[in-house]
Symmetry: C5
Subunit: 385 residues, 5 copies
């Protein structure tokens, strides 16, 4: 059997993992972020197949992996075979991974092959859907987001990953090449774990699990970024700091939008009852559910801390203004009265008897010293200096 | 069959879509916004038919579209025929679109034609209702808001759209001409999609879907506005900026009021069980429900970001005040002591031995230079300059 | 039949409605507002009849309206007849309206007449209850608040209205004369609508509906006040503005306390099943429920906007402080260095060669001009002037 | 029968009530407030009987009241009789009130007498429990807080009151002497109301009702305090004001902690079904439930208003800073330029032709006047003066 | 029987308890805090056994305690015996405590001994799980956090404690030596309480109860810290204060993350129905549930107070800035006009008639005094001085 397309490296370190599974993303994959572009051309009939995101790949490619307890087979298809070589029940799984969504004819052929509901295939093409799991009579339809962080600018990019899961097959749709499913491919290749002897439902779980794991990696990076920001706010806040905090808040909102619905997705998945999904998968999905909770907890903690940082920054700013004021006040309060005294004896009246007194000048200097000293003492008492 | 009243353009671009479906709105359609005018004259008996909004159209017009799997027919009625030409079960749908609500007699005639419940027809006339779906024994009653954004001032206008959906008929009521249902009319006209062979329940879904789609268009515009505001706050905040942010907040509240109840509406619609609505519609309504969630998510994100912008603006303001203070402090702290020194040697005491020393003047100038340098060094250390 | 006590004016305009139904309130009706006076003397046995509010009327009066499909009859009673003339089932309704609550003996007589539960009659007398609907075996017990706004100070006054609704009778208790039920009385008098042929449950609905309508009128006034405040904050904020905003916030809290529980009340009312309430009333109560939601939505929007106004005010204040600082900084920064230069040449050293140079004075003036110009240019660059 | 220990005064005014039921509290009763001291010595076995609060009374005393429809009997016990004289079903109630919790042997004897569950008796001794109602097979276990306010410092003290309610008996445990149950004792003594002919469940209701009533009294005092603070913030804010507001916030948190769980307690009580509690008690407990809601509403309103006061205070502070700045700016902006002019003509250049002109001095004075006037006009235009 | 490994001290005081049960923690136990390190290497198959935390102990040790109603036995195992000596039903419990998680082989042996589900044993090794209770067919799986506070820096460290509870056995897994279970061991040793005659479910309760008790100790320390901060904010706020408040907020977030899920854990535990857990345990778990509520209440109160402290700090800062401004304004406003007057009479015009008047000098001095007095009076009126 061929395995040339599946990476071999088994023991990836964490940074290697990040590079391996995330870097292949195309930098073009920046989508409209605050508001997702309309889920379809407004008012068009449901089931209209129009790809709404940017085109991220030249030619749409389809990778088909057929595996069973006894082996596996990898092919790359240019067109969809008819009928689809779905293994008979219990004898393995066909996993088709479609990369690129702008080839509407190909999508139609795939949809026809396993009778995907028109609304499901529409959501595949109209990227920007909310993560969700929908039950159709023939299959499950899952939408999730694959996130990627551009480290330099702490900029989160999201890509929609859709899956149609039916008896003996799983079709995954991605917007472009590069994904986080490498480890799952390696497990299929190596036969490690139980994945080869399991159903398509288990494969769906495994893919979602890999996806959730990749979100933890992103959260770790964001967590480090938050800690860096924390240091910056405390040690060396600049005019730029508040903008960075605002930017961080936005990214956390984007992240949250992708993460919160996952909990509901996992919860729906737990309640699914199909005869082509073995009941023992439920306990794995419960584990997934649990991880989603952990993701959400962490996102919320990061949000709370970043809003705390904003408060800290503003309080630092007030503190600094207060210190500037103190310096001004101390200097002005000491010298303005002294200048007044000097001004008095700079007047040109003809009759100013003090001017003639020999010790008047040193006396005035002494007086000035006393005034300055008194002021300084007052400020010391107020703990301004 | 006549189709003169249905627009022909099939492939509208997004901006064209906006123009086509939104611009026909009458600028007069600005209703009381913060608080909706009383749902009826206070204390009047339930079912009292009084139109409460502004009159937006001269003469009330009724457009009637009868369609079935085989064809369609468009008429414009001046008075309501008796009995209403509702097609027999399963043989098509009569869609009556009433534009203008101030002709009470006409509303009564419509209500009599299909036995609309008095409370439902009252809510049709008393615009300013919350979006909702109510089940009556004979029909469903749906209220939703059609929003429009006046781009120049980012001002959201809302118009109430009511629908009465029964077996074989759907009656929609609008406050004035111009709506977002153009694409649905075109689908009926062209026979594309499945709309002609579907029930009135499917038509209701199609209209709501078109409405929700138009809300996405508005959200996109608001999203762009928020991003413009973001730039303005960061690059060039003026006195006007905070007012714009407050205005934006208000508009988002208005939007939210129209959007939040839609989720409940869709959820109620999903639970409706009537023998004249085919069960396969449910999956479409679930899709609608999903889109409502997406709308709400986006509105909330815009709200969070706009409140973050407020914080950013205020912090910028503090920052600027801090800088103004620094300039004042630096200049005053340097020159006030120097002026004092000059003042001392401007005193007119007769006995000031320094005045006679030849090198005293340059020495004093040097002293002044040293004081200024020391001050500058201190400010440099504090990183104020 | 007598109708002398029922107002005749059928078509009241909105301001007339406000005057007609709200102005008769006694200005004395200001109750403890933040915390309602104890629901009863603390620790006294349940069912103790003590009126806890201010006495708002000299003599307690009872207006009794008996109506049925065929006619109606109005009487004013000084004492409660025994037994009460409750019409037999299905033959009409007796509506007793008690104005004033301090006549304990009369309350006891009323309670005895239709066997009101001691806890219910206690809550009638102990004003300051939360709006609620309680089911007792013989009757329903409803508490709601009738609000009034003192326009000059935007001060909301509340009065408790209690109703005991049983088969064939409804007894309403008010703290004093003047109410919002005029339109209901007129409908009974004129026989318009269906009220005369309906049960006491429908009457309860009609009264609650009139009450909810009157709350909309108050919300409109508050909404206008909020818009006035908005203008004031933007155009001409004064020291008083923030206090007004705080006051507004308090009034909205008072309003909210009366409005929020209404939703629950309407929801409980919808679930009531009694054989003396016709099932067709449910749809009207659902309508009421809907209006309560609308009320709550609006109150919350007003609250959000008024808190946005506070932010706007504070940001305006910071803005103004910033501007004051700029003026000070610009003027001080220009003249303090100049004064220093003048001071230098005002020193009295004997050896200051510049003083003798003929062109020194114009040169120094020129230098001063250059310094001032440089400063002005710097401030212009920073866009402070 | 003996009644010497029950107070006689039937008609207490509100202030008298406060004094009568609250002042006997021992000033020592200040417990750890933010965090309640550990519910037991950490890690000790469940059911360990250790009193964790301060010892508030020298000797533990037990007051036993036996009453029935026909009479009542009060005794003071030094030791617990064996067996306990619990009246047979339906023939009356034994109410034992234990004051002081440090006598572990006595608690054990009480627990043995009516077989109290070890966990319940542990919670009795380990004060600082959350208000709750727990059902055990033999009895109900109720924990609530009796609050007291030290008026001078607006300091809320709480004392735990536990009750064990079983068929024919109720045992209440207090930390020390002085309680709010005086009116209930008087009702038993006087035979007023229905208390003597009711079950122990009714007695539990009556005691909780008295307790809730006393919370209303405290809320009234806090409400008055809030209104005083409101006046202080508006009229005469000092440095101390913000601390008082923070203190108020803390006290409201303490209060809230005692009040919120009461709602759940009342709700659990409503669902209790025991054959030794007559069903007619339920309606009274519903009333209690309602009062708990009212308490919570009021606490939340006070919290909102006190946070509004904080905003008002801060805005006042900004306002005052703004005014201080204006005074400084006006004075400095007028006199600094004038001083500069004077400085120019104080220079000692030999060639200053103006100095010799006779009308130069008045001209300069005029110029100064014009500058000052111009400045004043500018400030007037800006509405700073 | 051997008891050498169980501490003997029965009556520990609270500080001793803290030292005894908390100090043995290794200082190395600081884990990634904001974001917990990935629950497993991303993408690896479920059930992969990799320890993700820091290695806190040289050699993994296993302490096995077998006890029953008649006695107990303590052993320290280097390797897991096969089969595990689990007592037969109802004849005692085997409690294995594993300290250290990096010995994967040992974990596998333990898992094999009692057939632990792969996902459960994976969560044991992958520390950083959310507290939870999961039901597997053979056993319960519980995860909780053991917290420790580094007093000097108020730094909370958390360690994951996992438990697998099955019929007749309980296996607890800790990351390193030192725990809070000492009192439970002593109870087993001494035979006090009922623990020896109870099931493994009761032991699980006892351990969780000890853990929750230790959280109360930490909350007390945090509560004292909050009160210290309160004093610091009011008495002597420094630049450091705000950072400490931010740090406190972070620690409370960490604490909350460990505490909130406990409520759900206890609630799930209450619903567990297994024949090897006696039903009477439920009432103890309800008690545990109650304590979790109390923990959460307290954490939330601490959070609210610490956010109140932030407000107090910021308001103090504004107050101080305001005072600095007042000092500057008062001094500058008094002396700047005086200096101007002195400057006027320091001008060198030849024709200044005043200069020759003998009483001009004292007159000017008087004028200056009047100006200063007037200014002071104005500031006194404004209550600035």
């Amino acid at each position: 059997m061929a395995d040339h397309e599946i990476e071999r490296d088994e023991a990836l370190s964490l940074p290697e993992f990040i590079r391996a599974t995330i870097e292949p993303f195309d930098p073009l994959r920046i989508v409209g972020r605050l508001v997702r572009r309309g889920t379809k051309a407004p008012g068009s009939p449901p089931g209209t197949l129009v790809h709404t995101g940017p085109r991220r790949v030249e030619a749409v490619t389809v990778q088909a992996i057929r595996y069973g307890p006894d082996g596996f087979e990898v092919e790359r298809w240019d067109r969809i075979p008819e009928p689809l070589p779905v293994p008979p029940p219990g004898e393995g799984v066909l996993w088709m991974n479609v990369e690129g969504l702008h080839d509407v004819e190909l999508l139609k052929a795939v949809a026809a092959g396993v009778r995907i509901h028109p609304l499901a295939i529409e959501d595949v093409a109209n990227v920007g859907q909310r993560p969700k799991l929908e039950e159709y009579s023939d299959h499950l339809f899952i939408v999730a987001h694959m996130l990627r962080i551009q480290e330099a600018q702490v900029h989160i990019l999201d890509e929609q990953v859709s899956m149609v899961v039916g008896p003996g097959y799983l079709i995954s749709f991605q917007e472009g090449p590069g994904d986080v499913f490498g480890p799952v491919r390696r497990r299929i290749e190596s036969g490690k774990g139980q994945i080869r002897s399991r159903s398509s439902g288990y494969l769906a779980y495994a893919l979602l699990d890999a996806l959730v794991d990749s979100l933890f990696v992103i959260l770790e990076q964001l967590g480090e970024h938050v800690e860096t920001m924390e240091l910056q706010v405390v040690e060396d806040p600049t005019k730029q700091t508040m903008r960075s905090l605002h930017h961080l808040k936005r990214e956390l909102l984007v992240l949250r939008r992708s993460v919160w619905p996952l909990r509901e997705l996992a919860s729906s998945f737990q309640r699914v009852e199909r005869d082509w999904i073995e009941p023992t998968v439920t306990v794995y999905i419960r584990d997934l559910h649990d991880h989603c909770y952990q993701l959400i907890d962490t996102v919320e903690i990061l949000r709370e801390i970043s809003s705390g940082l904003r408060d800290l920054y503003l309080s630092n700013l007030s503190q600094r203004t207060n210190e500037v004021m103190k310096v001004l006040t101390v200097i002005a309060s000491i010298f303005i009265p002294l200048t007044f005294v000097a001004g008095v004896y700079g007047m040109n009246f003809e009759h100013m008897p003090e001017l003639a007194i020999p010790w008047a000048y040193p006396a005035v200097l002494l007086l000035m010293g006393l005034i300055a000293g008194g002021m300084l003492a007052m400020f010391r008492v107020r703990r301004w200096i």
